[in-house]
């Protein structure tokens, strides 16, 4: 190895200076490594994780991006959609049917650390990260980007299958279900239907009636756990179900642990 040779008097100044002189001439007559930043910019790779952008036509407002955000800097904001946007939306017809307003993500970039989880876990591919990185602002308020400012329109929409990256799906405890169908109203992918459930169930107020229970289509369930959050009777909980292997309507007890 070159470093094992004897060190002589030439190694005080002369030999080290050979290296620097060589570099001096190389960068004087060639091109230095650095770039003049505001004038020249380097090209980020296509995978670059820069500022977020949301393809609104693909977004179904499920809120998974806010769920997986480690810093909780991403929040779903109720947004008024215009008729045209309503029509173009992938699940547009369904959005119109829902009782609640459509929700779209808004990001506080002062807290964002660009980890890319929102992009990775988005079930429809609506959340994307651009190669734009010059986000500096003079105020903290300027870093809060409202939902509409994140909107991008693509001329051609990639039609991706719904994917459950959360690896979990809701399970119903039919004994406590009161059949309010709130989960159906709020499900962003319309994967729940109400059907025949417990017959002659005795409710708390003493009345006895037939209660409809929700049934889940796990092929299009994205594991967003919205139904669990809105359930007034706490009859739903999340359990690991691999959506690629199991499909069809399943109820508690039939599922094997993943």
């Amino acid at each position: 190895m070159s470093s094992d040779r004897d060190i002589g008097i030439m190694d005080i100044i002369v030999n080290p200076m050979k290296v620097t002189l060589k570099q001096f001439f190389k960068s004087t007559f060639g091109k230095p490594t650095t770039v003049m930043y505001p004038l020249e910019k380097r090209d980020p790779p296509p995978t670059y994780r820069g500022m977020n952008a949301v393809i609104w036509d693909l977004c179904i407002g499920c809120g998974i991006c806010g769920e997986v955000c480690p810093n909780k800097c991403l929040k779903m904001k109720p947004t008024e959609l215009s008729d045209e946007e309503q029509d173009r939306a992938w699940y547009g017809s369904h959005v119109a049917k829902r009782k609640n307003k459509a929700e779209r993500p808004a990001i506080n970039f002062g807290h964002c650390m660009f980890c890319g989880f929102c992009e990775d876990y988005c079930p429809t591919g609506a959340m994307t990260m651009t190669d734009f990185y010059e986000l500096a602002d003079t105020t903290r308020e300027g870093l809060i980007y409202p939902a509409r400012s994140m909107k991008v329109d693509l001329p051609e929409l990639p039609q991706l299958p719904l994917t459950n990256y959360m690896m979990e799906s809701p399970i119903l405890n039919s004994e406590t279900c009161i059949g309010c169908s709130k989960c159906v109203d709020n499900c962003p992918t319309n994967c729940i239907i109400m059907d025949e459930g417990v017959i002659n169930k005795e409710l708390k107020n003493g009345t006895v009636r037939n209660v409809e229970n929700p049934y889940f289509d796990y092929t299009i369930c994205i594991g967003c756990s919205t139904c669990v959050k809105v359930c007034p009777a706490d009859c739903l909980h999340m359990e690991p179900i691999s959506n690629s292997s199991s499909s069809g309507l399943t109820e508690e007890g039939e599922v094997t642990e993943a």
Binding site: S2, P45, Y48, G116
Partner: protein, 364 residues
């Protein structure tokens, strides 16, 4: 001159982070030293207990900004043991490549930070210029330049992009050429040797007693590397050797610690080439990754700075019940009175720089 205490830090060029070194000097000679840690404590372990398993890779990235992939990998290994996830073969190869690229970047970061300690600004810029090459490589698949978040539980985020192997090979060739070029400027320079040789000595047995691991221990001539001894990923399948150096029989000085890292960089280049040689095809992510786990898991890996240990307890929920990180630098810095005494004030940056301080992982 009478004896006096000098407080170096928390804001001091020598510290490479936030910590205080109090030294008692007699004239210019160090009589006693007292390190003070904890300025950068962010309670990573407690924060991790509030987040889901998969979210914690962002925290482990930030344990040490110079070597984020290795720490994330240690976390991913321990969570995979906890959950019993089998990582596909291709993902293991990609992980090994990424780990070695990260080790190169980390060692270059260290070498660049070490040179200004000796008053050699040019060295910093040379090494950091080369580090840029590896950051460019790491950026290609992960999409970020510093905090990659690329290694995930159960595999890696995405497959390597097209042309990655050719780009890597080109950069590795350039890097090896440059390392040979730098030999005259650094390790063969007389003044560099005057500053580093026979300074900051500790013996191998002393190092083991004090818990000093990694390149600092290998600088004493001890062949200890967890990549071989507690092997993980594909390190046992490929052909490589543990690099050691010693200043004398069984002890190290700043120069041997410098040289062992330079040798390790050459070895990392070799490992990356070996990985590309027999890389299988297949998936890069395990098919089933649960998000809940119970039980306990413990893994240790060879970080760029020594042994990284992680201990995890799960209680069946989707968040860890207890998470403990053991950082190699915590013990090494705490042992600094043992190898600082008797040297000059001007040697402090030279010695403390040579052990490769990273305060992020030390204070957690």
């Amino acid at each position: 001159m009478a004896e006096m205490w000098i407080s170096m830090g928390p804001q001091h060029p020598m510290t490479h982070g936030l910590w205080t070194l109090k030294v008692k000097v007699d004239g210019e000679t160090i009589v006693d030293a007292d390190p003070e840690l904890g300025y950068l404590h962010r309670s990573v372990e407690k924060m991790g207990e509030r987040r889901k398993y998969f979210m914690n890779t962002t925290l482990t990235d930030r344990l040490c900004y110079a070597s984020s992939t290795t720490w994330t990998h240690c976390y991913a290994l321990s969570v995979e043991e906890l959950m019993g996830v089998e990582v596909p073969q291709r993902a293991q190869y990609i992980r090994t490549i990424m780990l070695e690229l990260q080790r190169l970047a980390s060692h270059l970061m260290w070498a660049g930070a070490y040179m200004p300690d000796l008053g050699h600004i040019t060295g910093a810029l040379y090494f950091w210029r080369d580090r840029e090459l590896f950051l460019n490589l790491l950026e290609l698949p992960s999409g970020s330049r510093l905090l990659y978040n690329y290694i995930r539980i159960g595999g890696v985020k995405r497959d390597l992009p097209d042309g990655f192997e050719e780009k890597t090979e080109r950069i590795l060739k350039l890097f090896e050429q440059r390392l040979d070029e730098y030999a005259d400027l650094f390790e063969n320079s007389k003044i560099f040797r005057m500053r580093t040789e026979d300074v900051g000595n500790f013996t191998a047995s002393q190092a083991m007693n004090l818990g000093i691991t990694g390149p600092n221990l290998r600088g004493c001539g001890t062949k200890h590397d967890l990549r071989k001894h507690d092997t993980y990923e594909i390190y046992e399948e490929i052909d490589w050797e543990i690099q050691t150096r010693e200043a004398g029989p069984g002890y190290s000085d700043c120069f041997s610690r410098y040289m062992v890292r330079i040798d390790e960089m050459r070895e990392s280049v070799h490992i990356i080439r070996e990985c590309f040689k027999n890389m299988p095809s297949g998936p890069t992510m395990a098919s089933k990754v649960p998000i809940r786990a119970s039980g306990e898991a413990f893994r240790r890996t060879e970080d760029s700075r020594g042994e990284a240990l992680m201990y995890l307890v799960g209680d069946g929920s989707d968040r860890p019940y207890r998470w403990k990180i053991k950082s190699p630098m915590f013990t090494t810095i705490s042992a600094c009175p043992h190898y600082l005494k008797g040297y000059k004030v001007a040697d402090i940056p030279s010695i403390m720089g040579s052990i490769d301080i990273c305060i992020g992982e030390t204070d957690k």
